[in-house]
Amino acid sequence: MLRRVVLQTFRQGLAQSFFKRNAASLSESAVTQHPIETSEEASEKSGSKQKNGDESGNTVVVAPPEFRFMYPEFLPDPTMERRNKLKEKLERMDMLQRRSIIEIPEFYTGSIMAVTVADSNSPNKFARFVGICIQRGGSGLQAWFILRNVVDRQGVEILYEMYCPLIQKIEVLRLERRLDESLLYLRDALPEYSTFPFEMEAERRLNNSVVPINPIKVKLRPRPWLERWERQNLQGVEDLNLPQRYYDRAKEVAKPWEKYDLMLQYRKTIPAEEQEKIYAEVHSQLQQQDLKRKIKRRRGPSSEQ
């Protein structure tokens, strides 16, 4: 039974790995293996619940593979000294509880977002900020992201904690990805790359199943810079045009062996089996919340009438 499912899914899985959400990181090349392939078959566009039969005949719930890119904060901190299964489980419960009240949409570094926060000191009691997400991090309830914008020729960055109860609304105005996972170089780039109007409206996406990658190459201001960008292998920056000695020194200082250090990679990642378990646990609730919101949105205008 399981083998037949795998044979059916292989072709579909291959096709879908091209046309589905382009969630795989740019460094991953091949289609992923067995347990993830079987979930790709039935997940289709909306990532529905997939029930596979295991050897004992009980159904096994598997979340679609792109969940780890859509909800990376559900994975715990990989530092071994800080792992505690009970704490992580309780945190996930609290995260789902918060998500049932506020919609925290899917976003990536490079997406333009608007966040409304409750602020007792502002005249409207709310403060709204629009910006491009330059970095995201943290795990569990401490997950955060940084929005950057240029306001009155002054660059402004705000770090928002996703599960903070002060946050009233998170909107994604433009959902897209960039060529890098961290856009901190926008601090040294020309201001036009970080300027977004506050009145910007949410853009409708033509293709709902694929997150577009914006291949823009950003121009940096002349030196001095905040970091040594030539040492960071940035894809989204135009040619830096530095004197050769900078590149020579970067080569001297580089650590090419780290790419091959398998245990270093292992200590920075959560193993695939654990990831599957975690997402299988949370994904049904996330799907339910998503569905309820969709129904509310459709009913919204009709109920007003």
Binding site: A143, Y260, E273
Partner: protein
């Protein structure tokens, strides 16, 4: 707090992994550390049982398990796995051995692929001593006997009898306890 790296999918290792790696100081620095561990992993895949010092054996065990688990998960057409195998195995015929011999051998395993056994300490002092690192399923005779306990050894016979008597006595006392309660009702 750090966010887990999402770019690679790794299999869970079935050995105890310590939170911090050992540094292995060498004149070349961290590059030298990986070069030496590379030689150890190559030797392990080539000879399937090697005797070396315990600290190096423990580190190399982690890298060997990672290499084999990646090979099983991704197969030999995966670019990244091939690059890792090319780096970690100095002799190129061992890459063939990894994918053609070791992967089919370990595909159905639910346990670790390597075994680390403590060896003798050749001179007195407070140090870890030698260790023998081997790939499971190797063709050599076993280092440790397969089973330690046989049911027909005298002490095991006596223990089994004692356990049976205890269970019988306990069952009897339970029935004794329940009877007076039933008679009351």
């Amino acid at each position: 707090m750090n966010q887990a790296d999402l770019s690679k999918l790794v299999s869970a290792l079935r050995i105890a992994v310590k939170p911090k790696p050992r540094l292995f100081a060498s004149p070349e620095g961290p590059a030298g550390r990986l070069r030496k561990l590379k030689a150890t992993v190559t030797a392990l895949v080539k000879y399937e049982r090697i005797e070396l010092n315990y600290p190096r054996a423990e580190e190399a065990q982690g890298y060997a398990e990672r290499l084999i688990s990646d090979a099983i998960r991704n197969g030999d057409c995966h670019k990244h796995t091939m690059e890792m195998a090319d780096y970690w195995l100095d002799e190129k015929q061992l890459i063939h051995k990894l994918f053609k011999v070791l992967v089919p051998r370990y595909k159905e395993y639910n346990s670790s692929y390597t075994k680390l056994v403590l060896g003798p300490k050749t001179y007195p002092g407070y140090y870890a001593g030698t260790a023998i690192l081997e790939l499971k399923g190797n063709p050599f005779p076993a280092l440790q006997p397969a089973t330690q306990n046989y049911h027909y050894w005298l002490h095991n016979v006596l223990l089994d009898e004692a356990k049976r008597e205890f269970r019988v006595a306990k069952a009897e006392s339970n029935t004794n306890l329940s009877e007076p309660v039933a008679s009351k009702n």
